[in-house]
């Protein structure tokens, strides 16, 4: 254990916060994966009216909500929703954003202008507004939310990828590959994408945090994944009317969100320092821009 820590310390160049972020992220992922083994879905969602508004105690460490459901158990299951939508949405953004970025960066000038125009267009919508609009029109199901947050998050990947491709296409190894007769597809797949992998991975870590925030915001606004599956954002909204008597319903889900996004940010920043040493003084992921 001590040896592992020392090795991690060396990998992250003494950035202890990044290690902490990584460890907490792993713990959260494990909890989400193991949730069904800890408590069954029925036990989480079944109302137990005589136990409503129980303050935190040894029996219910985070208390119970207005229907007597255990807040901790709901958070446990909520983490599955958050992480799943976060991952799926981020991957959606990453795949389509990267593809658009390659087209803009490697294509001819007209293609670049067209794609860049679309990207700029998407960027002129507040991220939350874009996701809200799409969900409002196609309805809040898990898949639709993934699509909405995926589209809303896509421009950032496209911009990054475009810049990377522009940089890489004029390098000597790409020129060499082309003069040896490699086609466009081969150059992109074999030479450009592998070199763009690290920055994209960093953005994915940081982007995951912002997608989780957007999903939580949608849930808070009543347009998140539909009940009965609990979500962190909805729990905060449900607790708001009872703030005066039962603060724990709204407070603990927020701590869960905060812990997750901060860990991801610390981990992502650390990852960037290792994988992408060109960009120092990192400014990490933002939600909603």
């Amino acid at each position: 254990m001590a040896g592992l820590l020392r090795r991690l310390d060396r990998t992250f160049k003494g950035n202890r916060l990044a290690i902490l972020g990584m460890v907490v992220t792993i713990v959260i992922v494990l909890l989400a994966v193991l949730a069904p083994a800890i408590v069954s879905f029925d036990d989480v969602t079944r109302p137990v009216v005589r136990e409503k508004f129980q303050p935190p105690s040894t029996e219910h460490i985070f208390g119970t909500d207005n229907l007597g459901r255990d807040v901790f158990n709901q958070l446990l299951w909520g983490s599955r929703t958050s992480l799943m939508i976060g991952l799926a949405g981020s991957l959606f953004s990453a795949v389509f954003g990267t593809a658009l970025g390659v087209i803009a960066g490697y294509g001819n000038r007209k293609l670049d202008l067209a794609v860049s125009y679309v990207i700029d267009l998407l960027m002129s919508f507040p991220l939350l507004l874009l996701a809200l609009l799409i969900v409002a029109m196609i309805g809040p199901s898990n898949l639709n939310i993934v699509i909405a947050v995926g589209i809303a998050g896509l421009p950032r990947y496209a911009r990054l990828m475009r810049a990377l491709v522009m940089q890489l296409r004029s390098t000597e190894f790409v020129t060499a590959a082309r003069s040896l007769g490699s086609g466009t597809l081969r150059v992109v797949l074999k030479h450009i994408l592998p070199n763009a992998f690290a920055p994209i991975l960093v953005l994915l870590t940081l982007g995951l945090a912002s997608v989780i925030i957007v999903e939580a915001s949608l849930s808070f606004l009543g347009l998140g994944p539909p009940p009965p599956s609990p979500t962190w954002g909805r729990l905060i909204a449900e607790g708001q009317p009872y703030l005066r008597n039962a603060w724990w319903i709204s407070v603990f889900p927020g701590i869960a969100i905060l812990t997750t996004v901060i860990s991801l940010n610390l981990f992502g920043d650390g990852l960037r320092d290792i994988l992408d040493p060109r960009t120092k003084n990192s400014i990490s992921a933002r939600k909603g821009e």
Binding site: F125, M137, G222, G254, R286
Partner: protein, 303 residues
Amino acid sequence: MLMIAALFGVAITIFLIMRLLPGDLAQLILGEFATPEALAQLRASLGLDQPLWRQFIDYLGNVATGDLGRSLMTRRPVIEDVAHAFPFTLQLAFGSLIVAILVGVPIGIISALKRNSLIDRGAMIFALLGVAGPDFWYGIIALLIFSVWLDWYPILGAGLVENSFEALKYLWLPASILGFSMAGLIARMTRSSLLEELEQDYTRTAKAKGLTYWTSTIKHALRNALIPLVTVIGGNAGRLLGGTIIIEVTFVRPGLGQLLMQSIMQRDYPVIQGLSLFFATMVILVNVIIDLSYQFLDPRIEY
């Protein structure tokens, strides 16, 4: 010119989102038990029976003349509803911006001058909390502390716009919460940009020719370090507006965000469409103003 292209694109995007997504708009509005006659009538009154290109031309024409249609619920022109709610959102956005600058810039300066000290670390954690955390939850915590426990804040609402003292009483808490999230960004930017300027030759020259620490650092370096501040503010105009939506809902302020959520819940499509257009136009407008302002801030930049 660019701005017109951007506005045109935004109008198209919103039109497409509103019309091409699955489902019949008339059916969605009237529900599944509507009679065919009622559906046909509504389609005709919304112009949905026209071909798509025709609908788009009409829509563009209306938008260009400032006609955003009428609300399906209140039958009032959308533009009136927007005009009524906008002051509340504007107050919130400006208030947050002021808080963000007043908090963010000093923190950034201290961090840069005391680089890698405990203060610097603490400030950067503060910045991370602001940048990455959920605004609406900070809002709830603030309500819990200042309304429920301390009773310093009238729990919900916005007061009257006309009465500025009254408005301020309702504004300070939501503006501080939204400002806090942006202060983090501003603090980080101020820090890194001031650090960069401090290493520039002109700063060294200023020090070498015997100017005091205060003059060389604050007057020379800081002035240049703050130019990117404008970029950060412009680049985050969208984020700020997006933030007002959720903060308005948290604090029940009758602004644009509240109006948007209400019309989404009531499926009042003309209002949703008009509001989206308004939000996006604001973002574009702010960015144009920011672009133009560089010339005044940095005479080296020309257009």
